[in-house]
């Protein structure tokens, strides 16, 4: 990959540190000019095109494929099937670690879900490969598909999410409910949702002997490399993955997906570079999705409106062949103080691809149910929903009793409510109309997402010319890692951002962990910060030990790195430039590595979460039931904000997704065949620009000394939580109709005029 020509925005005046400045994306100009090279833009010499054929049945087996017809088609080079494929070094069904999920890579003729890959046609052109795939005309032996939340006998999975206990409790929920003055019980349903990143999964794979070159979008360079290494029986250092840009990840590109492995297999089969790109409809199966849920919430309150019990049960689904369980009920662990809390899950198995991570997995589904139920409970108590939330404000994490590492949720409530004008909200629903007679409703939801940390390493260097370098295999999914991480690097190196060569996005760099769990800036940032500190320490050792340096002897008092110079901490008039120090030492550059990792002691002691409060206004046509969100205000507290501009965009995106969750998104699955009937962007509705109201984001700075060295909590996913419930609650407040099935449809609001 050629050096990226990243530019920092010229317009912003910066002062002091780089962190905290609202730089625009340094890769923005490249993207606007079409010069940012995404995976599918790569065309190595001799490259062939691979196209997957996918199953149209959801359960059964493939009995025949007309491989001969496909092979006869001009331009077709080979057809990879379960009978004709390169061997894998291990059975892909074997789960070698908790982050390995089973994938369909032509190991048998069994069909486990609709849109499962059943063959790959490799050809000289995309057109020939496409036609070859169509000519396969598969025949099947079809079994009845298991579809929906009642597909079969339910069971209690051993864990939900990634290793979370299936059930949790504190106190006696039944006693709490029995003693309550007011009680509610309600069942909410959320639909299956599918990943629709602008960029579909893609791979360009090229083998050279046992060396493998891969261009593909990934949120996990190193997990992907490890997975390829074990599947193909080669050493990880033989694999070079480039992933400088992702056209969106949202959890679907965290782990190596089956179709990407098929691309590597196809390249091995034909001995030439191969490109494989999913068609949009092929995203609806083999690359993970958000499972549907049915959630039952029970709550009780005492005479003062304080919760006496909170019981949250979630039914979800997993595939027939692997285990991932949307941990929806866990949303009730951390938000509302209740002496008795119980969360539990059960599941059924269905013929879909394995549901996996999709932006705020568990938190998003759980949040819309919990926030709706809290709204219902507040109404049952006759208390304003914000007042009710404040009355039940958790001063410690309810499920564990641990103190929070920091929690500025009260400020979020206050500032968000003030900006929105919440105080004027009538308690009763269906009280407000606009000049045109449309019903107006105001709703709110609390947002929360855990502040996670993974492990990462970075390499820092300072060069004699006064520039620095920071290298880390970090991932820019569009969220702005090229910019935010470079800001952290610049501060770590004591240089202006334009003096730092920041490298990321390839697997030959130090392991940055996974870009998931809203933890990438915290994790990679911590490694960068630590590498910067380490290289500065080395540089300081050179200077302070050298009697020719003005810093000689400052080893005990320490030095400060700023603007390419080291200064004595106790006397900033005495300093020396990096160039001078390295020149005198006769070094071209000095380098060091640093690690970022979670702090188990702090995690043991503190509950760590980002928080927020989202307020939404909707208008509803009283006769026609059509809904329009007219404004949203979100106030979020997520530790240190590295780049307010990028953070705002992340939160906007999350809030829009929350609105989409409440009003638009749903995969329509044929109840008989198990095929998804709206697997395209025309019919799988997400909001268009004209649906998105003016959005207002307030960020509230928190100084959290416990989460990590930089105090970063992450903002990637929190925006969906709270927002979906806020919109749903606003619909209730506008209409007086409580819809508990999402997305809210017109027909639900037609029943009442």
């Amino acid at each position: 990959m050629p050096e990226l020509n990243l530019t920092s925005a010229p317009a912003h005046l910066r002062h002091g540190s780089n962190i905290g400045q609202p730089l625009t994306r340094r890769d923005g100009v490249l993207k606007v000019k079409g010069q940012a090279t995404y995976a599918a833009d790569n065309h190595p010499s001799g490259m062939l095109f691979a196209v997957m054929a996918v199953s149209s049945i959801a359960r059964g087996r493939v009995t025949s494929l007309d491989v001969a017809a496909a092979r006869r088609h001009p331009g077709v080079v080979d057809v990879m099937t379960s009978d004709h494929k390169p061997p894998l070094a291990i059975d892909p069904e074997i789960k070698t670690n908790p982050f390995v999920f089973r994938m369909e890579v032509l190991q048998s003729d069994e069909v486990r879900y609709a849109n499962q890959p059943i063959a790959v046609v490799i050809a000289e052109t995309l057109e020939a490969a496409t036609e070859g795939a169509a000519l396969l005309a598969p025949r099947y032996e079809t079994l009845p598909a298991l579809i929906g939340l009642d597909a079969g006998d339910s069971f209690v999975p051993p864990v939900v999410g990634v290793g979370n206990p299936t059930e949790n409790h504190r106190g006696d929920v039944e006693a709490g409910l029995a003693s309550a003055e007011k009680r509610i019980e309600a069942v909410y349903e959320t639909p299956p949702q599918y990943h629709n990143a602008m960029e579909p999964h893609a791979i360009v794979a090229a083998w050279d002997g046992d060396n493998l070159s891969v261009d593909m979008p990934t949120q996990g360079l190193f997990l992907s490399r490890a997975r390829i290494a074990e599947l193909f029986g080669i050493a990880p250092d033989k694999i070079h993955i480039r992933s400088p840009f992702l056209g969106g990840g949202f959890g679907s590109k965290g782990l190596m997906a089956g179709p990407q492995v098929l691309g590597v297999m196809a390249a091995r089969l034909v001995g030439k570079p191969v490109k494989l790109v999913l068609r949009r409809e092929q995203m609806y199966g083999p690359v993970g999705h958000r499972a549907p849920t049915r959630q039952r919430l029970r709550m009780g309150t005492d005479g003062e409106g304080r919760l006496t019990a909170l019981d949250h049960h979630a039914r979800t689904v997993s595939s027939t062949f692997d285990d991932f369980y949307e941990p929806a009920a866990d949303a009730s662990h951390s938000l509302y103080a209740s002496p008795a809390i119980r969360t539990s899950h059960d599941a059924v198995r269905v013929n879909t691809g394995t549901p996996l991570f999709m932006r705020a997995p568990g938190e998003a589904t759980g949040s819309i149910a919990l926030e709706s139920a809290i709204d219902e409970m507040a109404w049952a108590c006759g208390i304003d929903p914000l007042a009710f939330r404040l009355k039940n404000y958790a001063e410690v994490e309810p499920i564990t009793g641990k103190p929070f590492s920091s929690k500025a949720l009260r400020a979020c409530y206050e500032q968000g409510a003030a900006r929105f004008g919440w105080a004027k909200r009538p308690l009763q629903p269906r009280q407000m109309r606009d000049d045109a007679g449309l019903l107006v409703g105001w709703g709110m939801g609390t947002a929360t997402f855990p502040a996670l940390m993974f492990q990462a390493e970075a390499r820092a260097a300072i060069r004699r010319d006064g520039t620095g370098a920071m290298e880390i295999g970090a991932h820019d999914m569009g969220q702005g890692a090229w910019t935010a991480l470079a800001q952290i690097a610049a501060d770590g190196l004591g240089l202006d951002i334009d003096r730092v060569a920041f490298k990321a996005g390839t697997s030959d760099l130090p392991d940055a962990g996974i870009a998931g769990g809203s933890a990438h800036t915290a994790t990679a940032g911590a490694a960068i910060h630590s590498a910067g500190a380490a290289v500065i320490a080395k540089l300081a050792d050179l200077a302070t030990a050298d009697e020719r340096s003005p810093l000689f002897g400052a080893g005990n008092t320490g030095v400060i790195a700023r603007d390419g110079k080291l200064f004595r901490r106790d006397d900033e008039s005495r300093g020396e430039s990096y160039t001078e120090i390295l020149a005198r030492a006769g070094l071209a550059e000095i380098e060091a590595r640093g690690m970022g990792a979670p702090n188990p002691a702090a995690m043991e002691e503190y509950a760590m979460h980002a928080h927020g409060a989202v307020f939404a206004e909707v208008k509803v046509d009283p006769e026609l039931g059509q809904i329009r969100v007219t404004r949203m205000v979100g106030a979020f507290a997520a530790g240190r904000i590295v780049n307010p501009h990028l953070v705002k965009s992340q939160l906007f995106g999350g809030m829009i997704w929350g609105m989409s969750f409440a009003l638009h998104e749903e995969a329509i699955t044929d109840r008989r065949s198990g095929r998804i009937m709206n697997a395209n962007l025309g019919e799988y509705h997400i909001p268009v620009n004209a649906d998105v109201p003016p959005l207002d984001v307030i960020t509230i700075e928190e100084h959290d000394p416990h989460v990590n060295a930089l105090g970063i909590k992450g903002v990637g996913e929190i925006g969906i939580t709270g927002s979906a419930g806020a919109v749903a609650n606003a619909v209730w407040h506008a209409t007086g109709v409580r819809v508990r099935r999402f997305p809210i449809r017109i027909e639900e609001l037609l029943t009442q005029r």
């Binding site: 006769e623 026609l624 109840r671």
Partner: protein, 351 residues
Amino acid sequence: MKPFDYVRPATVAEAVAAAAQPGAVYLAAGTNLLDLMKGNVSRPDRLVDVTHLGGLDRIEHLADGALRIGALVRNADLAHDPEFASAYPAIAEALLSGASAQLRNTATVGGNLLQRTRCAYFYDTASRCNKREAGSGCDARDGENRSHAVLGWSDSCIATHPSDFCVPLVALDAVVEIEGGNGRREIALDELHRLPGDTPERDTTLEPGDLIVAVRLPPAARGFAAHARYLKVRERTSYAFAVVSAAAALLIENGKIKQARLGLGGVAAKPWRARAAEDVLKDVAPTADAFQEAAWRALSDAKPSGDNAFKIELARRIVVRALTLAAAGTPARMPALPASPFASTSGALHA
């Protein structure tokens, strides 16, 4: 994708001759056809590209007061033609509520009339569909069908026609001019689209080779300009087909409705002209009661074809609202959100 011939005739006569053979279809902007071909839903042997034919992209004012719209006029060009929009505001509003700005920029008048249903089972070649493959069966009938027809459907097909444009056109008695093997003829738009009966594979009454060359609005159509609206309920504000839509046009004189026109969209395999409802409104005052009565008449034959009973009640309410809006008068400016119940909501920034 099935191999096909591509021909680009220079004249209408050549086009008609080229398209007369079985398996030939006309290609205009291709916003629907190309997707259908790529999905193996339509498998033509020959594409007859009409986009280079001369003279079909004009909007002509005829001496008798009629308006003739060439079949190749782009949806966006028509909607943004100021004279057109002021004379036929409901049609302009319908056009601007359809598809997306990008699609409207390329889609043509003739192509819009001939777009196929958006029934998911028609597009899904693994499903049975009598419209796609005659006699194969209908998987929509017992499938996911909350958006399907409530009027004029049959057991063999419950699909709807998706056009917005056609709804006010049918209400305003638009006429379709056709060049065919036997020369030029014309039919009412209301007679172009067919109800499915037991031959849903035929969407229209066109014969092989028939080319729509123009849509004509009769002189009377502009008489409704002061009271004409299109209203579309949908599940997002752009790039979504109508759940149900209605075009209402009134000629009001001395406080009474002299003539009413009413069309419904998203309810049947054709743009639905509600003549019985129009009759109810003749020579009565434009009151809420009258509109309610008209709405009942408009949907008196409706019955659910699946999980879509709500569409009948929704259609009644839309009829009442569209008539109410029409009676209130055509707005001086095209609403920021054309055809939306939120058309007048402040904060809407663009059309």
